[in-house]
């Protein structure tokens, strides 16, 4: 019982972390508070569904189409919408508020497009939906896959960020965006790349989520908020933080559902979030300054 709860909690947490990691890249490095994040996730989920149900392309192969598309989309959005805001904010310092407002608008646009293209129905399909025995616990194969993907993406990105020159560049921007250009870093290009990468991660989360969760065009904000909670809890811009916070939330939810009361799972999610923030105002792995 305990082991089952532990394993299913970890797997659930992995799927949360997968969705949250892209957001932490976007906020931590590009400094864009992207409220339309969940809409990207849902759009990717719909794309995976269409590819699977209409063209018979399985979601894993579908990723080969969806992910580059998402990357290009993120790249364009940053260039067209965010860049002017970023350059303006060097004078006014209002990027946070501006990006909240602009992406809030983007949220509505994407949602509206989805409502017209896909309708408002709940959508669901089955792929890799069978149990796999992990140390005695019965886990859905699609969730296990999402968990694995989260670990792989988290691991690879972590290595890239800490071991490569490009990673150092990115971290330099995250730590000191104003002084990075002094050492010859093209902040703009790197931020744009990070934003596009984040969009791609959002889409990969969406494809995975579509395999095991029912979704409709209005559900994006649920993902955005869950991702934000995880990102903030882990410490902004901190990939490891997002992974750990995601796993923690998954564990808390499963344990509360198993041992306390399923009615309190979501309450406990927010409670643990609030407690973590009160204990460490900058998140589990954040720098103490708070920002």
């Amino acid at each position: 019982m305990l082991l089952t709860a532990l394993i299913s909690g970890l797997v659930l947490g992995g799927t949360y972390a997968l969705v949250a990691m892209g957001l932490t890249l976007q906020y931590g490095i590009s400094r864009i508070m992207n409220l339309a994040y969940g809409e990207i996730t849902i759009f990717a989920a719909f794309s995976a569904f269409i590819l699977f149900s209409t063209f018979g392309i399985n979601p894993l192969l579908g990723m080969a189409i969806v992910l580059p598309g998402a990357f290009v989309f993120g790249y364009l959005i940053y260039g067209v919408m965010m860049q002017p805001l970023v350059s303006r904010s060097s004078r006014t310092g209002s990027l946070e508020v501006d990006s909240i407002l602009a992406t809030f608008g983007l949220l509505f646009v994407i949602q509206g497009v989805m409502l017209i293209t896909f309708g408002s129905n709940y959508t669901s399909y089955n792929y890799l939906n069978f149990g796999v025995n992990v140390l005695g616990a019965n886990i859905a194969a699609n969730r296990l896959l999402a968990f694995a993907l989260a670990i792989v993406i988290g691991g690879v990105l972590f290595l890239v960020l800490t071991r490569t020159r490009w990673g150092t560049t990115i971290r330099a921007i995250a730590v000191a965006p104003a002084s990075a250009p002094l050492v010859g870093i093209n902040v703009n290009r790197t931020a744009r790349f990070a934003f596009a990468l984040g969009t791609m991660l959002a889409a990969s989360g969406g494809v995975m989520v579509s395999m095991y969760q029912t979704f409709n065009a209005s559900m994006g904000v649920v993902f955005t908020m869950k991702a934000l909670v995880i990102v903030i809890m882990g410490g902004l811009g901190n990939l490891m933080g997002a992974l750990v916070a995601g796993l923690l939330l998954g564990l808390v939810e499963t344990f509360v559902a198993t041992y306390v009361d399923p009615g309190l799972t979501l309450a406990s999610t927010y409670l643990i979030f609030l407690v973590v923030l009160l204990w460490k105002p900058a998140g589990l792995f954040g720098k103490a300054a708070g920002r």
């Binding site: 508020v97 608008g105 949220l107 646009v109 509206g112 923030l277």
Partner: protein, 310 residues
């Protein structure tokens, strides 16, 4: 001084005119005024705290919902005015507890924290209703007409603006400007930052709670999904920011056009509402980045400069 008096007289006249309007309008006009006044009050109350401190709070709907729920629970047990007072006190109490615990968070941490708070309150209310009272969804059968709700909201809006005006002129107002600009500097000038922040948060939250309480009788049926709808928080923020959260009249000038815009869009483009709304938002960020009021001031200054140059 005379200017202030003239200003007060003008505002007073405007209020009278607004209070008189329901007699001239049909039910829809009253509903429109009611909704608009509700959001004007929410945005103004939100800006009382968030304007000067630059803390973006998404907890609006937590207090709004607490107000509505208090009315739903107590409406049959107490006379209505007492219910409103109780709702306000509950809002105040929650705000003080939350404020004490959270106001040391900064920036986006506070944003998401406040959102989490709203969700937590909603989940706890749901859990309580399901497990303790065994029902979900409550009925409010209070004999209060839309016009009466509107008048109450109008009064509350006036009080909110008065508080905002008073704060901006008092010593606290000066202190707040310093907090917004630089908290460290503010701390060195001997201002008790945390107490000022807490007081503002409590005032703002109490007003928001009252808005929820006053509006509740309009819906007949209440459940957490209805009164803790996060859209309320988002709209409040957007309206205040659009108008300019640092100006007394800013939130109002953001709330009124946006509210009318929403109404017009949902009436004329029910199927393309989202897309048009989104595009307009994006346009707003690019065209009026600092809010309507700041833009108007800029234009005015420019015109004056031109006059002076001629």
């Amino acid at each position: 001084m005379t200017r202030t008096i003239i200003g007060f007289v003008l505002v007073g006249l405007a209020l009278l005119a607004l209070a008189f309007m329901p007699t001239q309008l049909g039910a829809y006009g009253v509903g429109l005024l009611l909704g608009m006044t509700g959001y004007v009050t929410l945005a103004s109350a939100w800006a009382l705290f968030s304007g000067p401190t630059r803390y973006i709070s998404l907890a609006t709907v937590a207090f709004f919902g607490i107000g509505a729920y208090t009315v739903a629970v107590l409406s049959e047990a107490m006379p209505y005015p007492l219910v409103l007072v109780t709702a306000g006190l509950i809002g105040l109490g929650v705000a003080l507890v939350v404020g004490l615990a959270t106001l040391r968070l900064a920036g986006v941490y506070f944003v998401i924290f406040s959102f989490g708070l709203a969700e937590l309150v909603r989940q706890l209310v749901t859990w309580y209703e399901v497990n303790v009272t065994g029902t979900l969804g409550r009925y409010i059968f209070l004999p209060i007409s839309a016009t009466e709700i509107y008048w109450q909201l109008l009064g509350l809006a006036a009080i909110t603006l008065l508080i905002g005006w008073w704060i901006s002129r008092s010593r606290i107002g000066l202190a707040l400007k310093v907090i917004g600009d630089d908290e460290t500097v503010a701390a060195h000038t001997g201002i008790d930052i945390s107490r000022v922040k807490l007081a503002l948060f409590a005032i703002s939250a109490t007003i928001i709670t009252l808005v929820g309480a006053i509006q509740a009788p309009r819906w007949t049926y209440i459940e957490p999904a209805i009164v803790f709808n996060p859209t309320v928080s988002f709209l409040t923020v957007i309206m205040a920011l659009l108008g300019g959260a640092n100006r007394l009249w800013g939130p109002m000038l953001g709330a009124i056009p946006l509210f009318l815009l929403f109404e017009w869009l949902s009436a004329n483009f029910p199927n393309h509402y989202s897309i048009i709304l989104g595009l307009m938002f994006i346009a707003i960020v690019f065209i009026v980045p600092r809010g309507v009021v700041a833009l108007a001031e800029d234009l005015f200054k420019r015109a004056r400069r031109k006059e002076a140059a001629q």
